[in-house]
């Protein structure tokens, strides 16, 4: 047999093995997570969506945690979305080249700050501040968590909205300017609408990151408290899906208690997975729109 050809095949099968192993692990996680959550869904039925989670009294409702996750995420996006998009427009459309060259890498580097550091700073600096500024029962609250998550998602949102604004071809903008529109009118009426699907992708990515964040939420909002009454009172502490898992996994008894935590994982997974697919489609759409492919 031709030696080059056999070497070719060996390499191909090595690569195939690596690919199938990676994919195998990925699917293993999917399957394992869903399989482990089945007992909880079977035994609890619809009561899995009830408000209270307390292993001591055998109640494993995840509704409070889901509401908490949504509350924190909504808070985070309220802060980071307008600011991030505003900053992104400034970076891509207004700032001189050297400012953009300097700030873009800095923002990208800052996106890598470990979440435990955000959580630590939030708990040490922001929680006392929020306590004083809003006359709360305690500073630990969805409110403080939302602010920190907002700051955490800022680099991603600004970076992606800047990228998608930059992806709008120059001739489109030039045509608008040639018609006598000001730069701002061009940005507002031409560039921004053209980049809108990319900017929407920034939002879904931000939601995914905020809803899946564990450490910052765990350190700022105490994990083991019950959901607040009424559910929208974001000045109180309460569970989120991620903090619920992190706070209860260590001492959970095997059985329904543990299975309920896996069910929480399934909920997280479904939310974030859907968002990831939407983001992907949106980003592909931006590329297709302007690269003509």
């Amino acid at each position: 047999m031709n030696p080059t050809l056999s070497r070719e095949n060996v390499i191909k099968y090595i690569l195939l093995a690596a690919a199938s192993f990676s994919v195998f692990i990925i699917f293993l996680i999917f399957i394992y997570l869903f399989q482990k959550s089945i007992p909880a869904f079977q035994e609890l039925g619809w009561s899995i969506l009830s408000r209270e989670y307390s292993p001591a009294s055998d109640r494993y409702g995840l509704g409070g945690a889901i509401a908490g996750s949504l509350l924190v995420t909504a808070g985070a996006l309220t802060i980071s979305y307008p600011l991030g998009i505003g900053g992104g427009i400034f970076l891509s459309e207004i700032a001189p080249v050297w400012v953009r060259r300097m700030l873009k890498p800095i923002i990208e580097v800052l996106a890598g700050i470990p979440s435990v550091i955000y959580g630590f700073l939030g708990a040490v600096l922001l929680v006392p501040f929020a306590y004083n500024a809003f006359d709360m029962l305690q500073g630990q609250s969805y409110f403080a968590g939302g602010i920190i998550l907002g700051v955490m998602t800022l680099p991603i949102i600004i970076s992606i909205s800047d990228d998608s604004l930059k992806a709008v071809p120059r001739d489109v903008k030039d045509a608008s300017l040639a018609l006598g529109a000001t730069r701002w009118t061009t940005t507002k009426k031409i560039t921004f609408p053209a980049a809108s699907s990319g900017i929407f992708a920034a939002a879904t990515l931000g939601v995914g990151k905020a809803i899946g964040e564990t450490m910052a939420v765990l350190m700022i909002i105490s994990a083991t408290t019950n959901a607040p009454m009424p559910w929208f009172d974001f000045f109180q502490a309460g569970p989120t899906l991620t903090a619920l898992i992190a706070g209860h996994m260590g001492e959970s008894a095997p059985g329904v208690a543990r299975s309920a935590l896996f069910a929480a994982g399934v909920f997280l997974f479904l939310i974030v997975g859907t968002l990831a697919i939407i983001t992907d489609i949106m980003q592909q759409r931006v590329i297709k729109k302007f690269r003509g492919r």
């Binding site: 996680i29 700050i113 435990v116 564990t214 996994m249």
Partner: protein, 428 residues
């Protein structure tokens, strides 16, 4: 668009100041007062200083009066009316009156919230918000509400947005450096943690985090790059590849705590609470990011290059190794280092089985129990209430220094990654 909007604005502003009509002075003053109001409000918020309501009332009053003058000027000279300006002027005057009567705490309890809006927050945020909007409006008025005025007003607001983005990030880095640096010493770097984190250093954590980084590089990087090469270069565009790509996309977004669940329930019973378990789960966490980045880098190489090489008689693997990989390598390396850096800073996947100290030095990654800087920081934070005041302060100092060391390690990786990308970037 790239030729420097700011310099253009600056030049125009400078020539503008020389040509200011006397009648435009109120709007210029209004701009300065508005920005001063925003600056004062921001300083108060950042430094937690309670502002006297009279100061805020003064700002609002001056802004209101100036905007009324501006409205009159517009009407007398240009025979025009601006509803925006008039409404804003009236709002300012009403606010100036209301602010003086503001109670110390506006109770929100009857709405169902267990909190109140303090005067401190209301005044600072109000000054910032109305200052910036007023500034934008003053610029519009300065330009007699021509489109160029709208543009510069909008630029002011956007610049402020960028400032609000950068400020908290600067505060985070600044606080960690300022509070962490005094604790960095030879002793801190070379001793192990003792007495519930009040004494000793972070040696275990530093060694642990570096070991984790090495393990992720060893496990995830070859696997991820090989998988990416197969997916992009060998696998055709059929149904299965699309499923795999979707799975990679979804897994990239999966929260880190889900990996923690998986590690706790699957890996730990098999491999124990060892570095191997931690390295494995963090590798699985990093895998989608690495595959994704590598696939993107390989996609950037045009098909013409591949076809040219194949047409010259090179085999598939020769083409990949000699033609496709070299130009895509910077992109792959950047993606890989960013992915490993993100995974190595994660706490949630390993928090359920991490310990505080290494059992021996150097550790055996296959059997010794896992520890890392990030789990140290989390554990120290969890113990923050223990002991007397001196103990608490010492533990806090240690926590800050650990945060600083962790930040330095992770940010160095990110900086190296971006440096490689900027330096060797090739476009086709």
């Amino acid at each position: 668009m790239d030729d420097g909007g700011m310099t253009a604005v600056h030049r125009r502003l400078r020539s503008g100041i020389r040509q200011v009509q006397p009648s435009q002075i109120p709007s210029l003053v209004a701009l300065l007062v508005s920005i001063a109001a925003a600056a004062v409000g921001f300083t108060a918020l950042a430094k937690t200083i309670e502002l006297d309501p009279v100061i805020a009332a003064g700002f609002f009053l001056v802004m209101g009066v100036l905007f009324v003058m501006e409205e009159i000027r517009l009407f007398l000279i240009d025979r025009r009316k601006s509803v925006r300006l008039l409404l804003y002027a009236i709002t300012m005057l009403v606010l100036a009156y209301l602010v003086t009567g503001l109670p110390a705490v506006i109770d929100l309890r009857h709405l169902g919230f267990t909190a109140g809006l303090t005067r401190f927050i209301a005044i600072s945020v109000g000054l910032i918000l109305f200052g910036i909007i007023g500034g934008a409006l003053a610029i519009c008025a300065f330009h007699n509400f021509r489109p160029i005025g709208n543009q510069q007003g909008a630029y002011l607001v956007l610049l402020f947005c960028l400032f609000l983005v950068l400020y908290p990030l600067a505060v985070i880095i600044g606080e960690v450096v300022i509070n962490g640096a005094p604790g960095l010493s030879w002793e801190f770097m070379t001793q192990d943690i003792r007495d519930l984190g009040t004494k000793g250093g972070a040696l275990s954590g530093i060694v642990g985090t570096l070991l984790l980084i090495a393990l992720i590089f060893l496990i995830a990087v070859p696997l991820g790059i090989c998988a990416a090469i197969y997916l992009q270069e060998y696998a055709g565009k059929h149904f299965l590849t699309r499923i795999i790509n979707t799975a990679v996309t979804v897994l990239r977004g999966v929260p880190s705590i889900v990996f923690g669940l998986f590690a706790f329930a699957v890996f730990e019973p098999i491999f124990g609470a060892s570095f191997l378990t931690g390295g494995l789960i963090l590798s699985v966490y990093a895998l989608p990011m690495i595959i994704r980045a590598s696939v993107e880098a390989l996609k950037g190489i045009p098909d013409e290059l591949r076809e040219g090489s194949l047409a010259l008689g090179a085999s598939k693997w020769q083409t990949i190794r000699r033609v496709v990989l070299p130009p895509s390598l910077p992109g792959i390396i950047t993606g890989v280092v960013l992915g490993v850096g993100e995974a190595a800073g994660e706490t949630a996947p390993i928090m359920f089985f991490a310990t505080l100290r290494l059992s021996r030095m150097p550790p055996n990654p296959l059997t010794d129990s896992i520890t890392s800087l990030q789990t140290h920081l989390y554990t120290l934070f969890g113990m923050r209430g223990l002991g007397g005041a001196a103990d608490k302060a010492a533990r806090m100092q240690n926590a800050w220094s650990i945060a600083l060391v962790l930040l330095i390690i992770i940010l160095t990786m990110n900086i190296v990654a971006l440096f490689i990308r900027e330096k060797y970037r090739q476009e086709f």
